[in-house]
Symmetry: C2
Subunit: 449 residues, 2 copies
């Protein structure tokens, strides 16, 4: 290992995983991390629950503090923004945001883990005070403070993706009159229309107003937000969160001339190497590979970022590791509803060139005679002819997340629907009916294919 100093840009999931892994593998390595926000190693996925009050103390969202990393020999500088990368001199331009001073930091190895930036700044009126995006602990704190200080009674969530749905749940939990505004004709476009409709039904049942097919025309109120106009109608909103997706934060990478992929992410190989000597990238700033169509994909999620950071920390210290790719596996809780997906939806599969069939069944989460069973819908997408599984979506009030993972495992294995139908899965009345919904769905998919 020739590198003497590792610099990491971004100290959240991928960056801290890379830093910690590299230091553990090579204790002689000088490891320094620069993080723009005031916290390192925090869980962005926990932020909606901080807004909701489920996690009252924001410190619980921090996995390890800079002080804890320091004890492992990893120097983390929060409130430090990297403003430039010089590949020739192998230095970074770093700005200490507290002191307002810039400096130059050398590196032998560099990990770009700048993450992603929320979209939405361009929405008309997005700068109206009380309008937020949600990416950092500071964002969550600001939203909480705004609600309290302005005695907010109503809220609008712009965007019906994972974050929008979780924030809507949080607002409902806080007793706010909540409207979800989605430009597309349905929530969560990563699932099929019928699953999305179930989500909308859940939100409405909990008291939310859900408006799909409604593009934001204005966020209004002057010195404090009062309403959102979308699809020609105004919605009262004392607080607004925009959650219409994120874009890879690649400003530095692009300025340094690193190649970006079609989704805008930094291009990396399986070892998280950028192709530029000494430079790795990991997490939400990267594009990755989709395991089913083998093409580039951009699926910014914390679990992927952690895995990729670990791989980068291994390969940059001379180890052998590879990040294989993603299936786009994800799960979200929306009030009492659990929604999960993996692989390709029917439309995605067609777009990727597959001749796809979909089978959908609704069964129950436990034995019918056992208390507490809940309906569980399973949709499976398979390739016509071969029966090869391409994806799955599950929705229900219990038993979704890890059943999605069984489908993910089958996808990793390249299994057919018929093979999944023969899987020897757990059965006991409190946990599953004797024919697990997965098995019934697999049977239906095998017949359809």
């Amino acid at each position: 290992m020739s590198a003497r100093r590792l610099a990491v840009v971004g100290g959240v999931a991928a960056g801290m995983s890379a830093a910690a892994r590299a230091k553990r593998r090579d204790p002689a390595l000088d490891v320094v991390v620069f993080e723009r926000s005031g916290y390192c190693s925090y869980t962005a996925c926990g932020l909606p629950y901080h807004i909701a009050g489920v996690i009252p103390d924001h410190r619980a969202l921090v996995m390890r503090t800079p002080e804890e990393f320091a004890r492992e020999g990893v120097a983390v500088h929060v409130r430090h923004e990297v403003t430039g990368i010089d590949l020739d001199s192998r230095t970074l331009r770093v700005r200490d945001l507290e002191r307002g001073r810039g400096r130059t930091e050398p590196w032998d190895a560099l990990v770009l883990a700048a993450g992603a930036r929320p979209a939405g700044a361009g929405l008309p009126g997005a700068a109206t005070p009380g309008t937020f995006t949600l990416r950092t602990i500071e964002d969550a704190q600001a939203i909480r403070a705004w609600i309290d200080e302005h005695d907010a009674r109503s809220a609008a969530v712009v965007g019906g993706g994972y974050i929008g749905l979780e924030v809507a749940e949080a607002f409902l939990a806080r007793g706010l009159v909540t409207t979800v505004i989605e430009r597309e004709d349905r929530l969560l476009t990563l699932v099929d229309a019928d699953v999305a409709e179930t989500i909308a039904g859940e939100l409405r049942e909990r008291g939310a107003d859900v408006r799909c097919g409604a593009a934001v025309e204005a966020i209004e109120g002057g010195d404090r937000v009062r309403r959102v106009v979308a699809g020609g109608r105004a919605v009262d909103a004392d607080v607004v969160v925009i959650g219409i997706g994120v874009r890879p934060d690649t400003e530095l990478a692009a300025a340094a001339g690193l190649p970006l992929g079609p989704h805008g992410g930094v291009v990396v190989d399986a070892g998280m190497r950028t192709g530029t000597d000494g430079v790795w990238a990991a997490g939400d700033c990267c594009q990755t590979r989709h395991l089913l169509h083998d093409g580039p994909a951009y699926v910014p999620l914390g679990t992927t970022a952690n895995k990729q950071g670990r791989v980068a920390g291994t390969t940059l210290t001379g180890g052998d590791a590879a990040f294989g790719g993603v299936l786009g596996t994800a799960v979200v809780k929306v009030c009492e509803l659990q929604v999960g997906r993996t692989g390709l939806g029917e439309e995605e599969a067609s777009a990727a060139g597959f001749d796809a069939v979909t089978a959908s069944i609704t069964h129950i989460s436990r034995a019918r005679y056992y208390p507490g069973h809940e309906p569980l819908q399973v949709k499976l997408v398979a390739e016509r002819g071969s029966g090869r599984l391409l994806g799955g979506q599950l929705v229900g009030r219990e038993g979704v997340a890890k059943r999605v993972d069984v489908v993910a495992a089958a996808l990793h294995a390249g299994a057919t629907a018929d093979e999944l139908a023969g899987y020897d899965l757990t059965y006991a009345p409190p946990f599953a009916p004797v024919w697990d919904p997965l098995l019934l769905a697999a049977r239906a998919a095998a017949e359809a294919a």
Copy 2:
């Protein structure tokens, strides 16, 4: 399809699945089922919950009644015992247990689905009134009635397998002073000693006395059971349930000259054919194939029985279907504890000729900052060198069953521990930590292998 009359011996899981499937595929087929007990198509797995009172009405344990089957054209005769099979004349000797009359029934195709019989009749004092095994709805009703009519205060469960553990939970739920007596040095020998110790701890915490390494010497009391002597000590017991396993019920098959396997089950091929023309077998009376060591196995479970019955019903009507085999996947709830396993344990793997390593980690079921997370132990067994996964065991208070199924899916795929460590699994704070316990265990197993 040449068969005109299908006779099925045994009307529970495998038998009714075969009958229903065959009739659906071939509506012209005359389908008749003979079931010794008073109920068909009942769930044996629900019986402990009937004893516990969780399922108060025994009718909830019956999936479909004879009347419902009759409407589908399947004639079910409960309280009818088949006493002999004549392969030459293709007839059965059937005894109507209500009327006490025998008769002869013809068949063109025969499915043996006689199930299994509980072991334990040979234990000293096993005939003492108040001593039961648990296999049928009548057994569960008799246990309930005995407890009520004899004002039972104490109970002993002989055997610490799945059924014994579930019955122990049921007795505790009913407020009985409960002792579990196990001949081996630990409960549930299908899991490793440390997992078994966790189970014992849970039972003790709930107030049960757990005595391992204690062989039953006597069940005593004369006209009603009063105590069990085991391991040299007497235990008060106003009711006793013996749950020391089952044996395939193959009396008829053996008398008819059908070959039995090393575990005593009827030998069948993947299409559930016995090798004797016109005769199929399915469910707990059969031996099956273990997918990991490819040898014969006897794993009598309801989900397998249902799958096998369905295969038999397909192939006997000229269809193409195969039952691939089992991994021994199972899950059991013991009070608040969930225990699951799939594939081979370390000892089983060694016995099957594998050079096996085990990795065990304890992590949490949800994100650490999310309320309700519980410790979750994951043990994985892998082949040394290749890293191929051989089995897994999980224990915790939530999130066990379907995580076991992810391991099962990986086993079906022949995946290595390293491959599992790269699986794209669901992550959201309410459902999993960012590194799912499965991924951490897989990483540990990959390193150990």
